[in-house]
């Protein structure tokens, strides 16, 4: 790029050039004022993860033994220019056409003719860091202006039993993360990053709820958790831990779950279509029979469970829980062994396509390995849970075909079409035209505005785990008096509406750092991510006139204003023509 002239550039690159080497060169070039990344086949990189190689700055991890070796850390760069993504064919065609027609061949003499230009607007209000911007909001005197918002949303908690609020009982937690990081607004597909694992959790919850009635009596309970904001330094899990330590979890009025009561913490993480499942246990589990259970039950569902060859725990919510309560027995269930197999972790290309998902739409065949695999995994987990809670063998008759179909529908909802059949049974949603069918972005967002995915997934979890009750819509609003149950009115299969009675709870997923007065921002104890406020994000394309034309226009403008001044002066001077300007003032001082 020639830097001898004073033109600034918006660089348009294909996605496979969106790599550290290229971007670092653009970053250091002060003539670059913006970048547009074009996502179009065949220019798709084989790997792209904007996260760190050790995501969430996990301990015992460096570039040589990274969990996410594909990470290029783009999320943590201080970019001096805005970066836009163009992924729709219309925008891409327009940009390339305009460039080809007006800017080629591009050489020094090009500046004497009109050039195709892009104007990018993306002003971010926040500056410096979270403490500074929050302090500025709190100090704001006359101008009440918001610079940033704390990130966060809600966690989804589903205890499968209720118990007396004065007693405590041991719980087994099955958790998965709900969110995915995002570098671009509205683009956080997170197919393998989070969708497969929380869909496995939803399926396992569904299976467990269907066999739960066979358990006569138990002193232990199952709690399903979908954690939010985990990509941002574990907002959801750290808040749960904080609330548990305060004795406020899951809420102030109902029964309590404390860290000491956690019998097992199972976390499902990054599942793919491989039947090889790796277990990452905490040291407390080495002598526990539970892992053998997983291996033997898994074999029944033709899955190959094995112990990870790496001893330390991968980046996970479990680490947050363990940090607060060291002797916690936990297990991470994943499809990766020593490092992530996902080539697009937390990136915009982590889509149904890269996952190899094909919508079965009612008929599962041998092609649909992913659906079957998740169904087997969910069945294994639900069976083991049954054994843990009841102490007896789990029933064998889990209908694999039905579960695979349900998994297929779930994946379709989260990967391809937010207005899918299952979601319509939950809420009324508009049917989008085929071209606009898209999944809901999984980026956690900021706390004042909840991500629709949280509510919908929570209701879906409740829908899949509870039986409808015969109550009219008017009466389907009240919770029971001790706040253990909640009633939700859903659409139902025939859209006739149905009422469910569930133990579902939404708990805040906002970092404790924003609650603790005088929090020490440098302690790194809790997530302190905030998101800048912005308005008016736009990309405009236009023809920039040639330099000569610009100079002529400017000269004409200056000439006209000088001329007008002269004319006015002349008229004023010769007031015999017009005497309106020098008429004596009516008031005499």
């Amino acid at each position: 790029m020639d830097s001898h002239h004073d033109y600034y550039y918006v660089v348009t690159i294909y996605m496979d050039m969106f790599i550290s080497d290229v971007m670092n060169r653009l970053k250091t070039n002060d003539k670059v004022s913006g970048v547009v990344v074009i996502v179009q086949k065949p220019h798709i990189p084989v790997e792209y993860s904007p996260d760190d190689v050790c995501d969430n700055s996990v301990e015992n991890c460096n570039s040589t033994n990274a969990w996410n070796p594909k990470g290029n850390q783009f999320l943590y760069y201080d970019w001096p220019f805005p970066i836009f993504v163009a992924d729709d064919i219309l925008t891409i065609t327009k940009i390339t056409q305009c460039y080809n027609n007006f800017n080629l061949p591009f050489e020094k003499s090009s500046f004497s003719r009109p050039l195709c230009s892009l104007q990018i607007k993306s002003h971010m209000s926040a500056a410096v860091d979270s403490p500074t911007c929050l302090r500025r909001i709190s100090q704001a005197g006359v101008s009440i202006y918001k610079y940033c918002d704390p990130m966060g949303d809600q966690n989804i908690i589903l205890p499968m039993d209720t118990w007396n609020e004065n007693t405590t009982r041991d719980v087994v937690i099955i958790a998965a993360r709900l969110d995915t990081a995002s570098m671009f607004d509205g683009l956080a597909p997170g197919a393998m990053t989070s969708v497969t694992s929380f869909v496995t959790t939803l399926a396992a919850a569904h299976i467990y709820s269907s066999i739960q009635s066979k358990i006569k009596d138990s002193d232990k309970s199952i709690v399903f958790m979908l954690l939010n904001g985990e990509a941002q330094d574990h907002i959801g899990s750290s808040r749960i831990v904080y609330d548990m330590e305060k004795g406020l979890f899951p809420s102030m009025t109902s029964f309590n779950i404390t860290l000491k009561n956690i019998k097992y913490f199972f976390e499902i993480s990054q599942i793919g279509d491989s039947p090889n499942i790796f277990m990452h246990p905490s040291v407390e589990l080495y002598s526990d029979k539970i892992m053998e259970d997983f291996i033997s039950v898994g074999r029944k569902y033709s899955m190959n469970w094995s112990l990870s060859s790496r001893k330390d725990l991968p980046p996970s919510s479990l680490r947050v829980f363990k940090k607060a309560h060291e002797p916690l027995p936990g297990l991470i269930i994943s499809a990766y062994d020593k490092e992530y197999t996902n080539r697009y972790y937390n990136g915009l290309l982590d889509t149904s396509e890269s996952l190899g998902y094909k919508y079965a739409n009612g008929s599962i065949t041998d092609q649909h390995i992913l659906q079957k695999n998740i169904a087997s995994l969910a069945s294994t987990i639900a069976s083991v849970l049954f054994t843990v809670i009841s102490g007896s063998e789990s029933p064998d008759n889990i209908p694999q075909e039905d579960i695979a179909l349900m998994v297929d529908e779930l994946l379709h909802c989260y990967l391809e079409n937010k207005a899918c059949k299952l979601m319509k049974e939950i809420i009324t949603s508009k049917e989008e035209p085929a071209a606009k069918k898209a999944p809901l972005p999984l980026y956690v967002g900021v706390q004042p505005s909840l991500n629709p995915i949280t509510t919908q997934t929570g209701l879906l979890l409740a829908y899949l785990t509870s039986k409808p009750i015969n109550v009219s819509k008017e009466n389907c609003t009240a919770g029971s008096n001790n706040n253990q149950f909640a009633y939700f009115w859903l659409n139902g299969e025939e859209s006739n509406g149905l009422c469910i009675n569930t133990t579902l709870k939404f708990t805040p997923a906002v970092s404790p750092a924003f609650l603790i007065p005088d929090y020490n921002w440098t302690s790194r104890l809790y997530s302190t991510w905030t998101e800048s406020v912005w308005n008016d994000v736009s990309l405009e394309m236009f023809l920039k006139p040639s330099r000569r034309q610009e100079i002529i226009t400017l000269a004409c403008g200056i000439g006209t204003s000088i001329l007008s001044v002269l004319v006015v002066y002349y008229i004023n001077k010769n007031n015999k023509f017009v005497n309106i300007f020098s008429r004596p003032s009516p008031t005499v001082c």
């Binding site: 209000s125 500056a127 410096v128 500074t132 500025r136 006359v142 101008s143 202006y145 005499v588 001082c589």
Partner: protein, 101 residues
């Protein structure tokens, strides 16, 4: 007000009032005084009150100059070091710009 239509003693009174008002932290009043009465003080033919007016004009001018140096220096310091002041910088800011430190 057109000074040419004001009597000389009224001019002096006006000028001295402006001079005195400037002491209440009003450098712009001093500045106005200096500019407004400059012609009266230095360019009009001599008259009785002119000496006094001249004195007021000079002192008003000096006062306004000192003030502008003080304000200018402070504006320079504030604009260049607001960020470095950190929390104190924000607390003495009326409007904090968006998007920049």
């Amino acid at each position: 007000m057109d000074l040419s239509k004001v009597k000389n003693n009224e001019k002096l009174e006006l000028c001295s009032w402006y001079f005195r008002a400037g002491f209440f932290g009003l450098p712009i009043v001093w500045f106005v005084n200096a500019v407004w009465f400059f012609n009266e003080a230095f360019r009009k033919p001599v008259y009785e009150e002119q000496r006094a007016i001249k004195r007021y004009v000079i002192f008003s001018g000096i006062g306004a100059l000192i003030w502008s140096i003080v304000i200018g220096t402070w504006v320079y310091i504030f604009q260049s070091y607001r960020v470095a002041f950190g929390e104190f910088g924000d607390s003495i800011s009326f409007v904090i710009p968006t998007g920049v430190p």
